[in-house]
Symmetry: C2
Subunit: 101 residues, 2 copies
């Protein structure tokens, strides 16, 4: 498994308006090959948004990141920051992480 962490400056929409605006995109993302889950993140005060994703493997995490970065750039987003991490299983288990290892 790989964890993909993405964030970027955003002028919104946030909250319910964001949920409306990106409902179709979320449904599309749910079908991504190798995706286990995505948590959608947002901060209206700091004008940032992003996502935390769990993928089954690095190949799909990288493939999705490339695709999603191009999509965000198409939306006019600049300053995307992305990191791909391994998950430390034993430590995450101790801290009740919601992952099936």
């Amino acid at each position: 498994m790989k964890l993909l962490q993405v964030d970027f400056p955003s002028q919104g929409p946030f909250g319910e308006a964001m949920a409306q605006a990106y409902k179709d995109l979320a449904e599309d993302i749910a079908q991504e090959k190798g995706l286990i889950w995505k948590i959608w993140t947002e901060n209206k005060e700091t004008q940032e948004a992003g996502g935390i994703y769990l993928f089954a493997d690095e190949e799909n995490a990288k493939r999705y990141l490339d695709k999603h970065s191009k999509r965000l750039e198409g939306f006019g987003v600049q300053g995307i920051r992305a990191r791909i991490f391994d998950v430390n299983g034993p430590l995450s288990r101790i801290d009740k992480a919601p992952i099936q290892f």
Copy 2:
């Protein structure tokens, strides 16, 4: 709920050695007030590590971040990057996020 995203440069330990080195710390973190879970992240190739946390509220996320940043600095860590986000519930639900809303 608030999601806390933290990462920083790390020269290790990684993997099993990391799990051994920070077992006691993980057990301590599991007792943090307001913590729902933590996912421990690491990347040996890029020499980075961090954590994704879900907290019950902003007050505890900020309190923990202040405490943990000082602890990391005590370990000699520099360049800590931290962000506190809201979770967009409807979009995260569509993407199977492991959160009880």
